[in-house]
Symmetry: C2
Subunit: 472 residues, 2 copies
């Protein structure tokens, strides 16, 4: 198979690992070649038809691989010039809205549909216990002492491999740091930036308000950068030392950072020497195509990648991880001189065991199927029952945003009406730097209820919304 790749017409030897499927293998091969410079910016790639014929694979396989790499910012696709390796690539944002609709349901009590939680009833109890048993049976006593504050080597190795495979992250284990949740990770990064002399950081607007406040607490000035339908409006960045973004699925709006903006963001970081903190809080959950690979893979020297077990397993584990550029390793070591590692070594090794044995993958497949069904039911209900409702941010993640375009809907009135009906959701406004300027919308965390309660929760929500559907 390897030899076939040299027939790309590029005098290029792309290695295809037999462990991958055809499409994924092609993606990996091209991604690697772009990363290591064998495919330089501007290089034209063969048309999908040509390459498919050369490789003896279906044309759809090539098209899908190309699409994925365009979405990730490695390639560009322009009407007349075909597919090329990106330098500062441009492309349209992914359309992620579902049109409005009509119909009717029934109520329940204490329906929590706030975003930010997975279905905790799905905690993999049996698997976690088995992993813990294995750890306690096999780990040498010395491992229970004070360990490396960056985390246990075994977990860092497993994470480096997992993140490369599942999220396109490029790293060695030495640059993986185990943290006690995303807040801990963010605080450490802010402290490391301060040690390097940083004075300001930027956050998306909207975003979770606690995080900018935490950055301020560490002594940094915070600016807020608007988000539009392509994600962060990169040209509003100025001299900040870093920007915190949610490229795979903006929180809470749910847009994916467009290929053009990904490129523009990395160009900004390279030009100004700034860092990008990629908050990949729900990157494992994408429903209609393969996940958009991590931004970090395009610029491992400028991007801090942050992932978490809070959405894939549960926040109660208090486990997250960051992958840091070489330039931040020493400042993070210094910041963690006091901040010893905070995660129990037993939990670290149990998580490593869960990933290594494939249990986490199996768990994630179950979760993905469950959340996709929920999302589809939500989309269907909105279409059928709400004539003005428009759902966005649904391609990925654990929440969606519901708007009522062209109406005069009022968020406080709607939220208090829902509260009266026993339904708790978040309004969009609380995530904005200036809530009074926020557009109208509610954030629906469809993963939050336990599986058995989702049907009722959805019915209750929709029926309460219908009672107040705004005039068009």
């Amino acid at each position: 198979m390897e030899d076939e790749w040299s027939r790309l017409g590029l005098d290029l030897h792309l290695r295809l690992s037999p462990a991958h499927g055809l499409r994924t293998g092609l993606e990996h091969a091209v991604r690697d070649a772009v990363r290591d410079g064998r495919l330089s910016p501007g290089t034209p790639l063969p048309s999908s038809r040509t390459l498919a014929r050369d490789l003896g694979v279906a044309r759809g396989t090539v098209t899908q691989a190309y699409d994925q790499l365009v979405a990730e910012g490695y390639l560009t696709s322009r009407p007349r010039s075909g597919i090329r390796v990106a330098d500062q690539p441009a492309g349209p944002p992914a359309a992620e809205t579902v049109p409005p609709p009509h119909a009717a349901p029934s109520p329940a009590a204490g329906t929590d549909l706030r975003p930010g939680l997975p279905d905790l009833s799905g905690f993999p109890r049996r698997e976690w216990l088995a992993a813990t048993r294995r750890v306690l049976q096999t780990t040498p006593g010395a491992a229970f002492g004070y360990g490396d504050s960056f985390g246990h080597t075994e977990l860092r190795q497993v994470l480096a491999e997992y993140l490369g495979r599942a999220r396109g992250v490029v790293t060695t284990p030495e640059r993986v740091i185990v943290c006690a949740g995303y807040t801990h990770a963010l605080r450490l990064v802010c402290q490391a930036l301060r040690r390097r002399g940083a004075t300001s950081v930027a956050f998306e607007d909207p975003f979770l308000p606690d995080y900018p406040a935490l950055a301020e607490e560490t002594g940094l000035r915070v600016s807020r950068i608007p988000v539009d339908s392509e994600g962060l409006v990169v040209d509003r960045l100025t001299g900040e030392a870093a920007v915190i973004v949610t490229p795979a699925h903006q929180f809470p709006l749910g847009v994916t950072l467009s290929p053009a903006r990904r490129a523009q963001l990395l160009a900004w970081a390279r030009r100004t020497g700034a860092f990008v903190l990629e908050d990949d809080y729900d990157g494992e959950f994408r429903y209609d195509r393969q996940p958009v690979g991590a931004l970090q893979g395009l610029a491992p020297d400028r991007v801090v990648y942050a992932g978490t077990a809070s959405k894939t397993i549960a926040p109660g584990l208090r486990t997250a991880w960051i992958v840091v550029p070489p330039g931040l390793v020493a400042p993070l070591r210094a910041a963690m001189r006091w901040d010893e590692g905070y995660v129990s070594v037993i939990d670290q090794l149990a998580l490593a065991q869960l990933i290594r044995t494939g249990e986490l993958d199996r768990h994630l497949r179950r979760c993905r199927a469950r959340y996709r069904r929920r999302r589809d039911r939500l989309g269907d209900a909105v279409t059928r029952h709400l004539s003005h409702g428009s759902l966005s941010g649904i391609a990925a993640g654990l929440h969606a945003v519901l708007r009522f375009p062209g109406t005069s809907a009022s968020e406080p009135l709607l939220l208090s009406h829902l509260e009266e009906r026993g339904v708790t959701v978040d309004g969009v406004a609380r995530f904005y730097g200036r809530p009074e300027d926020a557009p109208f919308g509610i954030v629906i965390g469809y993963a939050t209820p336990p599986e058995h309660a989702y049907g009722n929760a959805l019915d209750t929500l929709i029926s309460a919304l219908r009672e107040r559907e705004p005039a068009g």
Copy 2:
């Protein structure tokens, strides 16, 4: 039994819980009466002979209870005035040195006798796994979400009860905070002090140098207060907002804060409005009599009590706890707004389970017996083989200090000689603010080696020391 206590001649109704033994029950009863004011400062107590007769118990029982309460600072004992309730009590420091000695042993390789670790080979694997199983079988899914940053209610309740019972700590569960190790606890306390406007804190000299450095990192000025044979030299304190002390077993010298100094310290705190952080890092380990109760019990409004699972179970669990005065609850809430709780809820509940079922007590009894044997062997070897060696700090904890009084011993020379023989211990000097002014001594962490290796470790140490025993 309750009624007998009213025959104290004090018109005092002391409640004796039937759960306690006679001596412990008497201690508890008197301690409680002093705390809640039923026994006011200066009140004379009946002689041990009288009370023993009144209660129908052995005189030794009463004597032991009184001794304990004198050591803890609740009572005073003066030659002519007998036993009274303390206000600013005075009393001699406990003698904790073992005289010098002679004889010979054999070497091993890679002998780590540094202090700060329990025997990790004794990690209660079976018990921890059983507790984890129980937690995963019984905990409702909702518990795996984001919990209270102060910790899970269940663990906080169990800790409040345990600390009251085992260490004489007076608290409600609301004032117990679960932390990810002592460093995390200390940082939080420093941050809370800063929020209250504090500018400086004091540490013992000697002490672990990382902790003063951490306090400085949070923006506090640090002063170092000398330690003598009675513990912290309290009258060297000035206007610090808080002082961090190790009253049960000073680190690393091993002295117990004397009753007089305990009283003096609390008087200083009350007079100046300062707080005392009681670092009770190895308070569970006392070998020759009941543990000296926590200072916190004497002044719950001024003392922050800090305990940890690092010595009782293992540092790898990353679990510690603080009990805070009411006045620090709000600043700690504020400090933890960003610092979400860092300890996995599964681990919190497993620890609660371990304590509730009595497994921790059984584990501690096994450890205490093991470490006491090791300490006795160390003391014996020093006595028999080292003519100038003098061991101190041996009444409690997991380490002892070896000095060579009246000799011209040089710490760097001795440490490098031991290193050549494959033995790692700490010198006392590194714990001093000005290492060059430190007295000579080495700190021997006798709990560190695995059980099967202790004999060889000890032989290697003693034989290396004999090679260099300084001229008298």
